[in-house]
């Protein structure tokens, strides 16, 4: 069954007066970030999005989250058009986005409070999700008293606590060190397998993309659209050792091949726009 459908999405930003970008060698005051993007995400599936920097992956996630309006096309969840943030979805950001004046527990409770969950149940559910990530004894800490990895665990616990049908994650582990990242990837998989949530996960790491995904979606250089979808038919549950198998290496090679030209195109685009200013 399809959970999210994105049909012919386009997004153009109008820049501030005096700002320009170079598009096809010409200066323009508008920047088209996404164009003709189609994507169908199935229920319970783990999708990873890869693509060069600036290809509009974050913008796509914002559109699905109902935070940004598409210039053309439509995005829907369970067949309903998305026009504003939907309680069926939760969003996790690279920079954690925890409220610094709330403790870990209060941060998780906040999401539940907004959803109108009663106080007593709020506390209980927040505790449950924090302990799921091994944070039981840190619930009274403020974000500034937690490591980056712990903060991101709190943020994921906060997102999952509302039991979303779709979890949007924008490079959630990019700011973490390699070991923490490995651990969090495994934790996320372990919990995802239990909750059967649909995950849309943006990453720059091909390794991460293949390790986590059912399908890897490769996005083209700006304006972004889907270039290719690569099925990852590695068995589950996966442990870290799977990365040493030849099959894993083959899939990584394949994704890189698909992306290579796009990354080059993005670099050329970038070089052009900086050279002209």
């Amino acid at each position: 069954m399809d959970r999210i459908t994105v049909t012919d999405i386009a997004k153009t930003f109008t820049l501030k007066p005096g700002q320009f970008v170079t598009v096809d060698g010409r200066e323009s005051n508008a920047i088209t970030v996404l164009s003709g993007l189609d994507l169908t995400i199935r229920k319970g599936e783990f999708i990873t999005l890869v693509g060069p920097s600036g290809s509009g992956k974050s913008v796509l996630l914002d559109i699905i989250a109902g935070l940004t309006e598409a210039s053309a096309g439509r995005a829907s969840i369970d067949g309903e058009l998305i026009t504003r943030p939907d309680p069926r979805m939760a969003y996790v950001f690279q920079q954690y986005a925890l409220f610094p004046w709330l403790t870990a527990l209060q941060n998780v409770e906040y999401a539940l409070e907004v959803r109108g969950v009663a106080r007593a149940e709020r506390r209980q559910r927040a505790r449950h999700f924090l302990s799921l990530f091994g944070l039981g004894s840190f619930e009274d800490r403020y974000p500034s008293q937690l490591s980056g990895g712990m903060q991101q665990r709190v943020a994921i616990a906060r997102a999952l606590s509302v039991e979303p049908e779709v979890l949007l994650m924008d490079e959630p582990f990019a700011a973490l060190d390699a070991q923490t990242r490995d651990i969090l990837q495994s934790e996320l998989l372990r919990i995802w397998e239990r909750l059967e949530t649909t995950v849309v996960f943006v990453t720059h790491s091909i390794d991460e993309a293949v390790y986590l995904a059912d399908r890897v979606v490769a996005i083209t250089a700006r304006p972004g659209r889907v270039k290719k979808i690569i099925d990852v038919d590695l068995p589950r549950p996966r442990d870290l050792d799977i990365r040493n198998t030849p099959e894993f290496g083959r899939l990584k090679g394949h994704v890189w091949e698909v992306l290579r030209d796009e990354v080059r195109a993005a670099q050329k685009d970038w070089a052009l726009s900086t050279a002209s200013h």
């Binding site: 935070l67 969003y91 950001f93 409220f99 709330l102 907004v114 403020y142």
Partner: protein, 284 residues
């Protein structure tokens, strides 16, 4: 460097373990700065006591500290000091409270809605750059010599500190937090209450610190110029009546009140921002 009155200094013995040869300088550094500052303050008091007695300065205009303290004792015992201080506090408090009520909502609107800010900014800047003291005659003309003009001047003195800091606080909200809150389905009203307001609190409290001081000092000045009661009146009137000891007693009380108020506000500021790292007394 801020500190809270009465907070114990780091125990020197703790650091002895790491550095056996703790120099005198390091010891001084480790002491609470209230304690460290006492000798100089005592020296000043001593000078105040002996200078008039030895005739270095005219004792009529500058009575020795003991005489001033005696006058202070009398003023306290008769209840006169308490009455004047109470009146000044009431005026400053009312003016300040009014400033809070006006500045915080206005600051929120100006910080959040660029169009509204554009429309109001010039007016605010113009008003802000007029001295409240220059306006006192205007207030007296319009509001009379009674309470209203004193409250108006304290309001005027505090409102811009609060307004500017509220605007700064509202603008400094992390856009990512707004985005995260919106993605969770936070309504516009809750966005104000639960995200923007807490983000702005440190700046607002800092503005309050400045505003409270400005209110207090303005009310004193206003009372010196046109009043029949209040601490400012007491100081000014004592001077006119050649009761120098009473005048200095008033000045001492004003200084102590200002100092205590500052400590109280520093304490409030620390409470309000206790979630920030590096403050030492965070809950665990």
């Amino acid at each position: 460097m801020t500190y809270v009155l009465g907070r114990s200094a780091p125990v020197a013995g703790k650091t002895d373990f790491h550095r056996p040869a703790l120099s005198a300088l390091a010891r001084l550094r480790a002491t609470n700065s209230v304690v460290a500052g006492l000798p100089l303050l005592l020296a000043l008091c001593l000078l105040w006591e002996i200078a008039p007695r030895l005739g270095w300065i005219n004792a009529i205009f500058f009575p020795p500290l003991s005489a001033v303290l005696a006058a202070l004792g009398d003023l306290l015992a008769s209840g006169e000091m308490g009455r004047h201080v109470g009146i000044s506090f009431q005026r400053a408090g009312l003016g300040f409270a009014l400033a809070v009520v006006v500045a915080i909502p206005l600051g929120f609107l100006m910080g959040r809605y660029p169009l509204f800010e554009k429309a109001t900014d010039l007016l605010v800047q113009t008003l802000r750059n007029t001295s409240q003291f220059a306006l006192l005659p205007v207030f007296v003309l319009l509001l009379g010599i009674g309470e209203a003009s004193k409250i108006a001047i304290t309001f005027y003195a505090a409102v811009f500190f609060l307004l500017v800091n509220t605007i700064v606080g509202v603008k400094s909200v992390d856009p990512l937090l707004l985005k995260a809150a919106r993605s969770m389905g936070t309504s516009d009203w809750d966005l104000f209450r639960k995200v923007i307001f807490p983000s702005a609190i440190p700046a607002i409290v800092a503005g309050m610190r400045l505003g409270v001081k400005a209110s207090l000092f303005s009310v004193i000045a206003a009372e010196m110029l046109a009043a029949r009661s209040g601490l400012g009146f007491l100081i000014q009137n004592s001077q006119l009546m050649l009761k120098a000891a009473d005048m200095y007693a008033g000045i001492i009380v004003l200084t102590v009140v200002g100092l205590l108020l500052n400590y109280a506000l520093v304490w409030i500021e620390r409470r309000a921002t206790h979630w920030r790292q590096g403050d030492g007394d965070q809950p665990h």
